[in-house]
């Protein structure tokens, strides 16, 4: 019997065939503070049944924190969550699931070694004569997947199937356990066009059955293709909730990364010499399927900004320049010398430095001291047989602690115990200590306070004054415009435009990113 597959609320249809839109979820005045950072400040979020509601915002905007509060990963500091009118306080993802809130994560939290059918039914397998009834499981799972447009062999291990199908299995599981709210966290990042189309038709089907779907994504075109309503967060604050039909793409992009009026600066841009030599010359570098061929040049003393939304290819480009990934096509040259970059160590030796975006995963070595973290890259280039004498290490650490105003009682404190902003500064210090000719910074100001942001921007410009070059990747347009001599705008994993930093406005950049009017909708 297909009990799990019937329409959930047949009485909810009006004459037009639309689902009546009852509010199933109301989050009010949600506050969440982590040490040193206010992740959410008085955020509201409303979800109706039979609605696909997109949640938008750059990294650090607070959308993942909001979802973690909803699914019980974090306990919010203040605010209320009303689920179908009743206040709830989920204590864990399991708890949230039991209440009817299911999540499909980007990494698809299923067990890759089990079959598709089993993943859908594990923990609640139908039994027959004391044994697992595999026949029923396989049959029902096949039916479920069929309803979602997939006629697949559900008796094969999940790992064999591409992410698109794994996601569907995750959704099927949620549907079968009668979820009322389905959260899709960046579901389309690894899907191709067809798979995205299929996902959207499933989402629409779920919506028609009365489910509320929260769709987290950074692909704006997809929001316009499938969502009914959208909410924008920025820097932990609610910017607004809009029906998708009533907000233009340009307005949306502005809401997401537009100007923050409270910041006052007094910065002077870098001034490269007129006859400055070309430091970095990258010609048509690219990885098929990941980044389209990009060419860029950076002069001595120049600060080049990389603008664009998350996922537009900025980090991918930086990783190619640093040897983290290998550019399959094209060439990279420093000071005229063509480089073979097989590992980051090669790039460091050629005076390129790269401060990565994910400081927790690629940046800090948490249990080592501030001093050791700062000295790490320098030490790596020297090899372990030529250690930096203790005195020099200490001097190096002291120099940068002072220069970057790193708040730490002493250089021996474990980096893992510092606040996010100070951790970022330590990593920055590590790279500055290698005396690079080219420093690539990927979102160095994310998740840190305004004062620290200003300091870091000042530092970048200082470096340019010393005839070094900087590539500055950021989601905040105003920052980029303020600091850059030239700005490269990335869009959809390719270079969209290159503009002069002194002659453009925020609106110009925003419209290039939004590409208003020229791109077709996906479905």
């Amino acid at each position: 019997m297909d009990e799990g597959l019937t329409l959930i609320h047949p009485s909810q249809y009006n004459r037009k065939g639309d689902c009546l839109q009852d509010i199933i979820l109301e989050m009010k005045d949600i506050e969440m503070t982590f040490p040193g950072v206010k992740a959410l400040g008085r955020v509201d979020f409303t979800l109706r049944s039979g609605q696909i509601h997109a949640l938008l915002g750059e990294n650090g905007a607070g959308k993942s924190t909001l979802i973690k509060v909803l699914t019980g990963v974090h306990r919010m500091d203040a605010g209320t969550i009303l689920f179908e009118g009743t206040p709830i306080r989920p204590t864990s993802p399991m708890d949230a699931q039991k209440q009817g809130i299911s999540t499909v994560y980007q990494e698809v939290n299923l067990c890759p070694n089990l079959t598709v059918a089993e993943n859908i039914f594990i923990g609640r397998q139908p039994m027959r004569k004391g044994q697992i009834d595999w026949k029923t499981i396989n049959h029902r799972a096949h039916e479920l997947m069929l309803r979602m447009g997939m006629d697949i062999d559900v008796t094969l291990p999940l790992a064999i199937y591409p992410i698109a199908i794994q996601q569907m299995a995750s959704i099927a599981r949620a549907v079968d356990i009668n979820a009322r709210i389905l959260i899709l966290d960046e579901p389309t990042s690894s899907l191709d066009e067809n798979e995205v189309r299929n996902l959207f038709s499933v989402m629409r089907e779920l919506k028609n059955q009365g489910m509320g779907v929260i769709f987290i994504t950074h692909f704006l075109d997809q929001v316009y293709a499938v969502a009914d309503q959208l909410t924008v967060l920025r820097n932990g604050r609610l910017i607004g909730e809009y029906p998708v039909r009533e907000i233009s793409k340009l307005e949306l992009v502005t809401a997401m990364i537009g100007k923050d009026i409270n910041e006052i600066y007094n910065l002077q841009k870098a001034q490269p010499q007129e006859d400055a030599s070309i430091v970095l010359d990258a010609q048509n570098i690219g990885i098929p399927g990941k980044v389209e061929d990009i060419s860029l040049q950076v002069k001595e003393g120049e600060l080049v900004g990389f603008a664009g939304l998350l996922g537009s290819g900025r980090t991918e480009t930086a990783e190619m320049l640093f040897g983290v990934t290998h550019a399959i096509r094209g060439s990279i040259a420093m000071h005229g010398e063509v480089l073979t970059l097989k590992a980051p160590l090669d790039a460091i030796r050629k005076k390129i430095a790269f401060c990565p975006e994910d400081r927790k995963r690629d940046g800090i070595v948490a249990d080592l001291s501030v001093r050791e973290n700062i000295a790490l890259a320098v030490q790596a280039t020297r090899g372990f047989l030529h250690p930096l004498p203790q005195k020099e290490q200490q001097e190096l650490a002291d120099k940068y602690i002072q220069l970057l105003s790193i708040m730490t009682p002493d250089a021996d404190k474990k980096v893992g115990e510092l606040s996010g902003g100070n951790q970022q500064k330590v990593i920055l210090a590590r790279w500055m200590a290698t005396n690079p000719d080219l420093l690539i910074l990927d979102e160095p100001t994310r998740g840190i306070d305004v004062g620290a942001k200003a300091e870091i921007q000042r530092l970048m410009l200082e470096m340019c004054k010393e005839d070094r070059s900087v590539i500055f990747i950021s989601s905040e347009i105003d920052e980029i415009i303020r600091c850059s001599n030239r700005i490269i705008v990335m869009r959809d994993l390719a270079k969209a435009a290159e503009v002069d930093g002194s002659a453009c406005t925020q609106a110009d950049i925003l419209s290039i990113i939004a590409n208003e009017g020229t791109k077709e909708e996906v479905v």
Partner: protein, 359 residues
């Protein structure tokens, strides 16, 4: 080494408990028998003066494990493990005795001679064990195999190799310079203790005077960040296993010297377990990261002290294992995260000042 101790409160707490445990055990021995801790100089029948006493004995007998555990500390700090060390001890002894044996076909009575040059008898075992360590290192560092299974290969095959080398025979030797390694003394201090001290000094210098120690810790704590920062983890891993191989070889020489023969079945039996325990009790976590060579030394001493204590008081040697297990269980439980967190919470509740949690 001072920096090692002071720079990490985390390790300090584990090390602290380990030292406390050792002192407690020694104290128990002292209470039960006042001369447990006494050390005296005695003159042996052959005219040499030697330091005598239980503490000396403990340190002496702990030599083989302590030496191996120095290398094992680095291996574990990298998140791996090496269970082949015991087999390498057997191989080392086998090769050494092959060159040092009293060859009954050549000489009719045992005497002070060696079949091949002495330096070869010392050099070849060490070279072989170093190469075996290289084998482990390449499998784990370059081929990315799982450490426990990669080192299982030599653990199983190593003893077989040791048997093949000596054709299954157990040789004996009377060669004085060789017997000196395990049984002699210099200025009253037993040679194994001296060798251990030299090894510890060498490893500590290598690890802290170069940045190798920092690299090991970095790779153990966060391999991704280490890679982005320019470290080559495969080289670091290979060196750690090569070093452990060499140290196993040295340990094997001491062992076979003590018994003046090679015993491929029993040499090094259980050494891998004792060495790993010594490292863990000393505060280095099995998941990798910061390590403490001093802690490993204390851990090794704890294991040997328990054994000695139990033997000393006439408890049958068979009970040693049970006691060892009990005490180790207590240490491990005390060191486990939930228990340490609970204790830390208690202590920070009592200190009225807010701020950082103390170790």
């Amino acid at each position: 080494m001072r920096k090692t101790m002071l720079s990490s409160a985390f390790i300090r707490s584990k090390l602290f408990w380990a030292i406390v445990a050792e002192l407690l055990i020694l104290l128990v021995g002292f209470i039960l028998r006042p001369d447990f801790l006494s050390i005296q100089l005695r003159t042996l029948s052959d005219g040499t003066t030697v330091l005598f006493g239980t503490p000396v004995d403990i340190f002496n007998r702990a030599s083989e494990i302590t030496i191996i555990a120095m290398g094992m500390t680095l291996v574990i700090a990298l998140g791996g493990t090496d269970i082949s060390v015991g087999a390498l001890v057997a191989v080392s002894g086998a090769i050494a005795l092959k060159f040092l044996r009293w060859d009954v076909l050549v000489y009719t009575t045992p005497g002070d001679y060696t079949v091949k040059p002495y330096y070869l008898a010392l050099l070849l075992p060490l070279m072989t064990c170093t190469l075996m360590g290289l084998f482990n290192g390449v499998l784990i560092g370059k081929l990315k195999l799982q450490p426990i299974i990669a080192t299982l290969i030599l653990m199983v095959g190593g003893r077989g190799i040791a048997q093949i080398v000596t054709n299954g025979k157990q040789f004996t030797t009377q060669y004085t310079p060789f017997k000196f390694i395990g049984n002699g003394s210099v200025l009253g201090i037993p040679v194994p203790i001296l060798i251990t001290l030299v090894v510890i000094l060498a490893v500590v210098l290598f690890v802290r005077r170069t940045s190798f120690g920092m690299f090991v810790e970095s790779v153990g704590i966060n391999p991704n960040a280490s890679r982005v920062s320019g470290l080559r983890s495969d080289t670091i891993i290979i060196i750690a296993y090569v070093l452990t191989g060499l140290l196993s070889g040295i340990s094997g020489l001491i062992y076979s010297s003590r018994i003046s023969s090679n015993d491929s079945n029993n040499a090094g039996l259980g050494y891998e377990m004792d060495a790993i325990l010594a490292v863990v009790i000393g505060g280095t976590s099995m998941t990798g990261g910061k390590f403490s060579l001093l802690g490993t030394l204390v851990g090794s001493l704890i294991i040997r002290t328990i054994t000695t204590l139990v033997l000393y008081f006439g408890v049958v040697s068979e009970a040693i294992m049970a006691f060892k297990a009990l005490i180790i269980a207590v240490v491990i439980v005390l060191q486990s995260e939930p228990v340490r967190n609970a204790i830390a919470k208690q202590r920070s509740k009592r200190t009225a000042l807010g701020g950082e949690a103390r170790a």
